[in-house]
Symmetry: D2
Amino acid sequence: MHKFKETVFRKIVTELLDNDPFSMNMGIKIIDANEGYCKCSLKVKSDMLNGFGITHGGVIFSLADTTLAFTAATFGNKALVLEHSISFLRKSNAGSIITAEGTCLHIGKKTGTIRVDTYDSNQVLIATSKGTIFKTGQIN
Amino acid sequence: MHKFKETVFRKIVTELLDNDPFSMNMGIKIIDANEGYCKCSLKVKSDMLNGFGITHGGVIFSLADTTLAFTAATFGNKALVLEHSISFLRKSNAGSIITAEGTCLHIGKKTGTIRVDTYDSNQVLIATSKGTIFKTGQIN
Amino acid sequence: MHKFKETVFRKIVTELLDNDPFSMNMGIKIIDANEGYCKCSLKVKSDMLNGFGITHGGVIFSLADTTLAFTAATFGNKALVLEHSISFLRKSNAGSIITAEGTCLHIGKKTGTIRVDTYDSNQVLIATSKGTIFKTGQIN
Amino acid sequence: MHKFKETVFRKIVTELLDNDPFSMNMGIKIIDANEGYCKCSLKVKSDMLNGFGITHGGVIFSLADTTLAFTAATFGNKALVLEHSISFLRKSNAGSIITAEGTCLHIGKKTGTIRVDTYDSNQVLIATSKGTIFKTGQIN
C-alpha cells in the first residue's frame, strides 16, 4: 500500500532521525514514510534483552515511540508525544529485526492520535501502541 | 516512608537487575525496594536525547518499565508487563538523574496493577505510568 | 469479512448481553460475532450527551467496553476487563447509531489484548480502544 | 487537604454538571472542587451492573471521565478528553456510593494530564485513571 518513495515525507523523517541521538544509538532505521504514515525498524542486539532473555519492553517502546512521533511529523510540524500506551503481545529475541508501523488515526490543529503496530522478523504482531501527540510550532 | 533496607525485597530486585542486560546497559540503579514498592534511577547521557535535545521518551519509559516489573516482582514471582501507559509531563536534560518510583495498586493471583511516577533531579514529576503485569510461574 | 451468522459465537454474546443490565439499559445491540470478534451498536439518545452537546465519553466507552469483554468471551470463558484505554477522535451527536468493532490481537491462557474501533453512522472512526482482559473460570 | 468551599471552582463544576445531560442522568454529584482538583460521586443502581453482578466498567469510567474533564475545567477553560486510560482494580456492587477524585498532574497552554482515583463506599480504591485533556477556547 505504501511503496518506497523518495518523497518529502521520507526526507522529513530521515532528517528527524539524523538529529535524534537515542534513536540513532538504538540503531533505528527508516523503512518508509508517507503523509500520516511511517515505518521504522531496529535490530535487537543481545544487550537489548531483559531478564527473561527476550527483547526488553523499553526497546520495543523506543522504536514505537520514535515511529509515533515521526508519523505525526509527516504533517509538517515536529511532534511531541504527550502519552503513549503499549501492549506487549508476543516475545522477540536477539537477532530479530522488529518493525514498527505508524498510522495516523486523527490529526487536528494542535493534537493527533497515532496507532503503531510492531512486528517481528516474521511479520507477527508483537506489540501495539496508541498515542497522543502535540504539534509544536517547529516546522520540519 | 520507605527507608533503605537490605531486605529480601532489595535482594530480589538487585538480582533481577543483574540479569537484565538492557537495564544494566541503560545504567539503571536500584535505590530502594519493599513489598509492592521499588525505586530505580538512571543518569541521562547525551546519547539518550531526542531531536528536541531532551530525554527521549524511550529512556524514561525504559526506566519506568523496569521499575514497574520489579515492583511487581517484590511479591515473589517474576512479572511480565502486559501493557504500560505513560504520560510525559515535563522535559529533562542530559546530566539529569531521573528516578522512577513504583507502587502496587492491586496484586491478584495472576495479575496486578502498578503505578510508576518518574521524577527529575529536583523531584519534579516528569512522567507518570500505569501498567498491568502478569505473574509468571518463575519464583525470584 | 465477518458475515452475519447464527453461530455459537453469536449465541454466546447474545446471552451475555441479556444478562448485562447496564448494557441493556444503554440500548446496546449485537450486530455480529465470531471467534475473537464482536460488533455492537448503540443509538445515542439526547440524555447521553455531555456539556458540549456531543456524545459523552462514558457512553462511547460503555459500548466499547462491553464489546471488548464480549470479543474476549467468544473464546469460551467470561472475561473481565483489567484495563481499557480509549482515544476520542471525533464527535458524534444525538440520533447517531455508533458501532464498536472488537478484534482480538492476542489471546493467552489467562489474559488477552483486544482492540475496539468505534464508528459513527457514516462509518467514520470516532474512537479507538485497546484493553487487557482476564479470562475467568466461568465458561459461557 | 481539600476542604468544602463555595468557591469559584465549585461554581464552575456545578454549572458544568447542570449542563451535562448524561452525567445528570447517571446521578453524578459534585463533592468538592478546587484549582486542579475535583471530587464527584455516584450511587450504583441495580441497572448499572454488568453480567458478573458488579458495577459495569462503563459506569465507573463515566464517573471518572466527568471528574477528569471537570478537574481540568477548574483552570478556566472547558476541557475535552483526548484519551482516558482506566484500570479496574476491585469490584463494587449495587448500592455502593463510588467517589472519583481528580488531580491535575500537569497543565500546559493547550493540554494537560489528569489522574483520577475512584473509591468505593469504604474508601477502597476500585479504579485508577490517567487522561489527557485539551483546553477548548470556551471559558467557564
